[in-house]
Amino acid sequence: MSASDFAIRAYRVKKNYGKSTDGPGLNGLTMEVPRGTIHGLLGPNGAGKTTAVKIFSTLLRLDEGEASVAGYDVTAEGHRVRERIGLVGQYAAVDEQLTGWQNLEMFGRLYRLPLKQARLRAEQLLGQFGLTEAGSQQVAKYSGGMRRRLDLAASLIVSPEVLFVDEPTTGLDPLARQEVWQAIQSLKEAGTTVLLTTQYLEEADQLADRISILKDGRIIQEGTPDSLKSSFGGDRLDITLLTQEDASSAAAILRELGDGGFSVDEANNRISVPVSDRTGSLLRAASAFAASGLEPLDMVLRRPTLDEVFIHYTTRSDYRDTKEATQA
């Protein structure tokens, strides 16, 4: 791919907020996002996701390194970048004292649409995001989901080349989340490149073509959701037991059988082991349990989830026993 095929590029970007108590915002971020794709940026709290989004959208100046969006340098050609991007910040940034309709008309005008067109577009977008009825109400009266959708609509007024969405579905109910996902998906189909930060692995799994895992201001792992899962190891065997004692004796048996690195979910008496040969391992475990008189409630073979991949990579430098607690 040539340079112009990338909608977003960052090369060794550093950003320090200048407070010695905090870690650096970004510490050598390097990434490339091909045009027309959805890229997921994952990371624990404070990893630097918002900092990255702010630098790409020219709200924040980088200290070192280079970054370009839509082919323009974010530092030298900020204005050109701003003409081509949409930003949906971590907190819905719409004017609460205006109505939804007034918000969209205003942003349309600021995106240089003539009055008539701005009004037409406001009407369209309200319809598209199911806000037609709420359009004449003050945003202060909106629910969190409605606000989020209005926020998203406001950033789509002139179908941006690159859209940045910072945790778009945090605090939304499942239905509203689905709607936001659909909106993002249809944007991609229209050719927009999307950089999506999220805390929800499921969201990245569903939407993103590629995923970068960010930690302490730099990318520690990158790939498609599938490749990340397989890089983490093969399939997993989940065994749920009735009591805690059963769980610990089962764990002892599995320690012999599995490929190491298994995790125990103590609250649910569930053990999860990576296995290399699927049915073989299942059969061996089953017969070992039968021999020792253990009755598992449930035995399931499955692929690793992105949650496990995420936890694995983001906690790797911490001290961890082989007995990791998996979180729901």
Partner: protein, 277 residues
């Protein structure tokens, strides 16, 4: 690779860029006017508050006040209240700026392809308009209650001009503080501070009645100079003083705002640009 339809986002030529800048300022001004319509009580209370203070100080405390050099206390009070109203305007500027910043609205504006100054200019237009309204309401109230100006029309206009000049300068102080504060606690601290600063002037009492050191501080308050100059222009009592600072009130009523502007205008602009520190 996908190509993007971007007919709507092409860079306009220089001439139309200026026109766009005007449109931006208008759109952002209209936004604030829509706030007034959406929440009329906010603006009505804001306009009535100085009236309430006039009633309180003019009639409740006014009987106990005497004006050095003679004259009615009410005539002394009104020009002071005009200046005070300009000063209290800072609070609404700061509040509006911090609200936008904390809600992320400022960041959204900054991610748009509009000129950075449009946002601040929109704020400026609305706050000045608000101050003109507040001044008009207060003047009519004063006239109804017996305040008179005795000078010429052009002097009265000049007085209004000086008041608005002070407001304009304080506007940039407010923008700077608002951009620096960026949270609600700082704003409420400021709201408390506004009172002693406002009272530490010759708005309500002549500085010659204060302890000497306090009087000296109060007479250096920019509010005092504007109030004294306004009294002089309206030919209301309290304008004649024996210190250099009160005799040069006219000059200082122009110089103070210019000094404030010279300091806070660049600071505010820089602050806005440096939000991306």
């Amino acid at each position: 690779m996908t190509t993007q339809a971007k007919g709507l986002t092409a860079t306009p030529p220089r001439a139309s860029r200026f026109r766009f800048a005007l449109v931006d300022v208008w759109v952002l001004t209209k936004r604030e006017l829509l706030h007034w319509i959406g929440n009329p009580w906010g603006i009505i209370i804001g306009l009535l508050f100085p009236v309430l203070m006039v009633l309180m100080f003019g009639f409740l405390f006014g009987g106990a006040m005497s004006v050095p050099g003679g004259g009615s206390y009410f005539d002394f009070l009104m020009p002071g209240m005009f200046a005070m109203t300009m000063f209290f305007g800072v609070e609404s500027t700061v509040l509006a700026i911090t609200t936008d910043a904390s809600k992320g609205v400022t960041d959204r504006f900054r991610s748009l392809p509009i000129h950075a100054s449009s946002v601040v200019l929109g704020r400026c237009m609305v706050d000045m308009l608000n101050s003109v309204l507040a001044l008009a309401v207060l003047m009519v109230t004063g006239l109804l209650l017996g305040w008179r100006w005795n000078g010429a029309w052009e002097h009265a206009l000049l007085a209004v001009g000086l008041l608005l000049l002070l407001r304009f300068a304080l506007l940039w102080v407010g923008i700077f503080i608002g951009l620096s504060a960026r949270n609600a606690q700082a704003v409420s601290a400021l709201q408390i501070l506004v009172w002693p600063i406002g009272f530490l002037s010759n708005v309500f009492v002549d500085t010659s009645t204060m302890p000497a050191w306090l009087g000296a501080i109060a007479s250096f308050n920019p509010l005092s100079s504007t109030a004294t100059a306004t009294r002089e222009l309206f030919m209301n009592p309290g304008a004649q003083g024996d210190t250099w600072i009160s005799q040069s009130a006219m000059l200082l009523a122009v110089a103070w705002p210019i000094v404030l502007l010279a300091i806070f205008f660049p600071l505010a602009v820089r602050r806005y640009r440096r939000l991306n520190r």
